[in-house]
């Protein structure tokens, strides 16, 4: 689905979300409508902090294990993402920092999906 992924590039390659100037809330993914203010809201796109802490996580073990974590960035917005480290390094509350990585591809002859993952802050 090339056009659909293409529209997301700006918000996946980097942590670009939305901010409501009316209520001061940050949202990721970016929203068309502020859920607090709806029509009264004034939503703009903005770049989010590079770091955050792990709220919770899981190691998905159906095939090759990978780590999915709910991360709270330093501006309060939360993002679901993968963390690149050994599962034994994961701890609730640990600090992580964004990293640009591959998320997969549409087959060997399809487009490559890049996006933001996280690595532990050392």
């Amino acid at each position: 689905m090339v056009p659909r992924s293409w529209r997301k590039i700006k918000y996946r390659y980097d942590l670009r979300g939305s901010y409501c100037e009316n209520c001061g809330n940050y949202h990721y993914p970016p929203r068309n409508f502020c859920p607090t203010c709806r029509r009264r809201g004034k939503v703009i796109e903005t770049l989010f902090p590079e770091e955050g802490r792990v709220v919770s996580y899981t190691v998905v073990r159906e095939k090759e294990p990978y780590i999915v974590a709910l991360i709270e960035l330093d501006n309060g917005a939360r993002v679901l993402s993968q963390v690149c480290c050994d599962p034994s390094e994961m701890k609730i509350g640990m600090r992580v920092r964004k990293a640009f990585r591959r998320y997969g591809e549409d087959n060997e002859d399809g487009i490559i999906h890049y996006g933001t993952k996280f690595v532990p802050v050392n």
């Binding site: 919770s56 190691v59 998905v60 073990r61 999915v68 709910l70 917005a77 679901l80 609730i92 998320y103």
Partner: protein, 384 residues
């Protein structure tokens, strides 16, 4: 608003039904419901269908029309509607049917739920379309992963353990062994759950309900019509529905399903009951953690103390509030769109005293049907 009663119920066996197609299982459930209500079929004025994804599981859309056709009801041109809220589709169908009768629009309707998942390769993968595809699924957050994230935080915050979750699965399997229509008839032990392989840590294979084939149907009627049809009407005293943010990252607290809290609060108010008045419940245990969370969000336990109920046997058959006497999603099998309707079938049988070996003493029952990770919840309170 008129009072609405369940006058007939039916369901197919749930499981991997290789020999039966979608039409076969729907008709099996529908016929049983008509027989239960002793109706010919022409009395039905409208049909509401819960089916999550005929399109992806079968390549078939226009599901309600298909069912009306094969039920012999297209002959009368009745309105046939399919509703979808992931695995709360069944609950939605019941609620739509309830509203149709309560409002006076129709006198007798049927709510059916059906899903045929084994004709395609990966049933759980399609069920994972219930999450936010672009922002959760894209990063690898399928349905088990998201419930696992909730489970881990619940464990970290409240001290719930993997053993506690295993007890839920053990209870439901024990109950399922008493239910001839349940997919799994096997009693299991805590060690079996703990030794099963991890799907998404900390959730293991036996913490997760299987995605299965199955169909269920309930016939609803207004009170006056119901009393003509049956001596044992079971009334739907409340049927409420609520939503929550789709993606976990958009919710302020992932340990509370706001949709469940809201729908339950409204149902209790309408039915004039409190959580302690509920004597039997069918709760959406797509994952063991979901049942623990539901104990809290339905008000059976304080937030964080859900695990105590299972540890103390409160929710066993014979306990103070039996939960999932049918075996729940875990032992019956989770036939996605059929689950919410199956829950009403079970509660009706329980309240009529027709539940056989798994019978509990109850006059008030509650059903909780959840979509995905809780973006939709339907709560129904039933009473004699």
């Amino acid at each position: 608003m008129r009072r609405v009663a369940v006058v007939g119920v039916g369901q197919s066996k749930f499981g991997e039904l290789w020999d039966k197609g979608f039409r076969d299982i729907v008709l099996e459930a529908g016929r049983e419901a008509l027989e239960d209500a002793d109706l010919e079929g022409k009395e039905i004025e409208a049909i509401f269908v819960g089916n999550m994804s005929g399109g992806r599981y079968l390549g078939q859309e226009h599901i309600a029309a298909l069912i009306a056709d094969y039920a012999g009801l297209a002959e009368f041109g009745i309105p046939a509607t399919r509703v979808e809220a992931a695995d709360a589709s069944g609950g939605l169908a019941v609620r739509q049917a309830y509203m149709a009768v309560a409002s006076g629009m129709h006198d007798i309707v049927i709510a059916a739920g059906a899903e045929k998942v084994t004709d395609v390769g990966d049933p759980m993968e399609i069920l994972s379309a219930s999450v936010d595809i672009e922002w959760e699924r894209f990063v690898g957050g399928n349905l088990p992963a998201l419930y696992a994230i909730i489970a881990r935080l619940h464990m970290e915050t409240f001290g719930t353990t993997e053993e506690d979750l295993a007890l839920i699965s053990v209870k439901n399997h024990r109950n399922g062994a008493l239910n001839p229509k349940a997919q799994f008839q096997r009693v299991i032990r805590v060690e079996d759950v703990l030794n099963s392989p991890y799907v998404a840590e900390p959730l293991k294979l036996l913490d997760c309900a299987s995605v299965s084939d199955g169909a269920a149907a309930v016939i609803l009627a207004s009170e006056d019509v119901a009393r003509e049809i049956t001596d044992t009407p079971v009334f739907i005293e409340a049927c409420t529905q609520a939503s929550d943010y789709l993606a976990l990252q958009s919710r302020k607290d992932i340990l509370t399903m706001n949709s469940v809290v809201k729908a339950a609060r409204e149902s209790y108010k309408i039915a004039g009951v409190e959580p302690k008045d509920i004597q039997v419940a069918e709760i959406h245990d797509s994952f063991t953690i979901a049942e623990v969370l539901a104990y809290e969000d339905l008000g059976f336990a304080e937030k964080g103390e859900g695990a105590e109920l299972i540890r103390e046997g409160v929710t066993e058959i014979g306990g103070k509030i039996p939960v999932n006497p049918s075996g729940g999603l875990k032992a019956c099998g989770h036939a996605v769109g059929a689950t919410g309707v199956r829950q009403i079938v079970e509660l009706t049988l329980q309240l009529r005293g027709e539940a056989g070996k798994r019978q509990v003493e109850a006059e008030k029952g509650l059903a909780l049907n959840i979509g995905g990770t809780g973006a939709t919840a339907v709560v129904s309170v039933l009473g004699r």
